[in-house]
């Protein structure tokens, strides 16, 4: 009402000089009059107008009652069901996750155990191989050594043979030499027996 009055005043002051002033003001006043009449129909502030109370109460009861029924029979069970399903699903997923985690842990444990076994086996194989290689090397060396010593012995035998042969030849050479020496020195001949005796005697010394 205040705004309407103000609007009326403003239109009067600003457009006062203009020809259609009266018409405009009249129009505004008419409008105000209509608005007042609408209110004046009951003569009270609209929200306190008791003529519509019965209708408002009836329709509120119908609409709110319907809404309450819809909520309690349809919507609330449905949303409650959705939330419950989700909680169940989450709990189930958590169980599943912990079960899988247990499985993974078991798998890791068995893997580590197998790894340890394999390592031990590997060590064992390596040790065996090393031992075998070592013993083979030792055997080879022994064989080679035995061969060598056999060859050395054979060589030594030959050397001894040659030596004895040489030594035996030494007597003959000495006799021949002695015979020749004696022949040159004294011009006579010496019997072979004497020479041999002499060589023997010197060799015996």
């Amino acid at each position: 009402m205040f705004v309407t009055a103000a609007y009326a005043q403003q239109s009067t002051t600003t457009e006062g000089a203009e020809a259609h002033d009266a018409a405009a003001a009249g129009e505004v006043h008419t409008e105000t009059g209509v608005a007042h009449e609408g209110e004046a129909g009951s003569g009270v502030f609209p929200p306190f107008d008791s003529t519509h109370f019965a209708s408002q109460l009836l329709w509120l009861a119908i609409t709110f009652g319907l809404f309450y029924l819809l909520m309690s029979k349809v919507i609330i069970p449905r949303i409650g069901g959705i939330l419950e399903t989700r909680h169940d699903r989450i709990a189930q997923d958590l169980d599943e996750a912990s079960r899988l985690k247990g499985e993974a842990d078991a798998a890791i444990a068995s893997y580590e155990q197998e790894l340890a076994t394999a390592k031990a086996k590997g060590h064992q194989i390596a040790d065996g191989a090393r031992e075998a290689a070592k013993s083979k090397a030792v055997a080879d060396r022994n064989a080679v050594e035995a061969d060598l010593s056999k060859k050395i012995a054979a060589a030594e035998d030959r050397i001894a043979d040659i030596k004895t042969k040489a030594l035996a030849d030494v007597g003959v050479i000495a006799e021949e030499t002695a015979t020749a020496v004696v022949k040159q020195l004294i011009g006579g001949t010496v019997t072979k027996a004497e020479i041999v005796a002499a060589v023997k005697a010197s060799a015996g010394n």
């Binding site: 600003t14 209708s55 709110f64």
Partner: protein, 250 residues
């Protein structure tokens, strides 16, 4: 459209109905009650129709309002109060939707009618009284006798308690009604300033900027008030229901 800020609260008959000499006409208020129920129930129904395990945005809005009211009621009235969940949920959704619908220009705000809010408040208090006496018999009257009060003061305290209990439906309804009414009148008055100032020419249009900013700001505030008043109504309902479930515990 009239410039009268109370014009928006006028109730107009759409379909005149009269039963036994009493006017039960289908009015614009009735129309918006139907619209409120349709909008709120339709939103909740359609957004949850997928029953998605992973909610869409709109489904999570419905779920959030469900959990919001459920936790409010559990905190306010304990697990014993959960049987009133459909009632509190319906009240909250109905009032919130009605308030928000009222924010649309040319729409009727049913919560700005004192008879509507008073009926809703009486529904709450009636439920409290009915359930309180049904469940606890005359033990419900312990509600008015706080423990540990000296005998001399008892008559005074009891009368204060009774008066405060009787004033509950009034405060509950007037709070909602007055907030919605005052907010819409304020909006209308400031918006009216914009139109009447801009009729004054260039200077008036410049001067109309301030009320225009105010109108925009108040619109934002009114959306907050819409939610807040629905929330307050629901919280107080939970508190009053707590008295019915556990009388004498305060």
């Amino acid at each position: 459209m009239s410039n009268d800020p109370t014009h928006q609260f006028l109730v107009n008959k759409i379909v005149p109905i009269e039963i036994g000499g009493i006017d039960f006409s289908f009015t614009n208020a009735s129309l918006f009650m139907v619209a409120t129920v349709g909008a709120a129930a339709g939103f909740l129904y359609l957004t949850t129709s997928q029953r998605g395990l992973i909610p869409t945005r709109l489904q999570s809005v419905s779920e959030m309002s469900y959990e919001f009211i459920a936790s409010m009621l559990r905190e306010g009235a304990g697990n014993g109060g959960m049987k009133f969940f459909p009632m509190v949920f319906s009240l909250f959704m109905f009032i919130l939707t009605a308030n928000l619908l009222g924010m649309f220009p040319y729409f009727f705000t049913i919560t700005s009618q004192i008879i509507v809010t008073f009926a809703l408040a009486l529904f709450v208090i009636g439920t409290v009284l009915f359930y309180g006496f049904y469940k606890h018999g005359f033990g419900f009257l312990k509600l008015f006798v706080p423990q540990g009060v000296p005998g001399v003061l008892l008559p005074l305290v009891v009368s204060i308690e009774i008066i405060s209990f009787l004033s509950r439906p009034i405060s509950l309804s007037v709070r909602l009604f007055a907030n919605m009414l005052a907010g819409h009148i304020t909006l209308k008055v400031f918006a009216g300033f914009v139109t009447s100032l801009s009729a004054l020419g260039a200077l008036g249009i410049g001067g109309a900027i301030l009320p225009l900013i105010m109108t925009v700001a108040i619109t934002g505030l009114e959306f907050l008030v819409c939610f807040l008043q629905a929330y307050v109504f629901a919280v107080l309902t939970c508190m009053y229901l707590n008295d019915a479930v556990h009388p004498g515990s305060h």
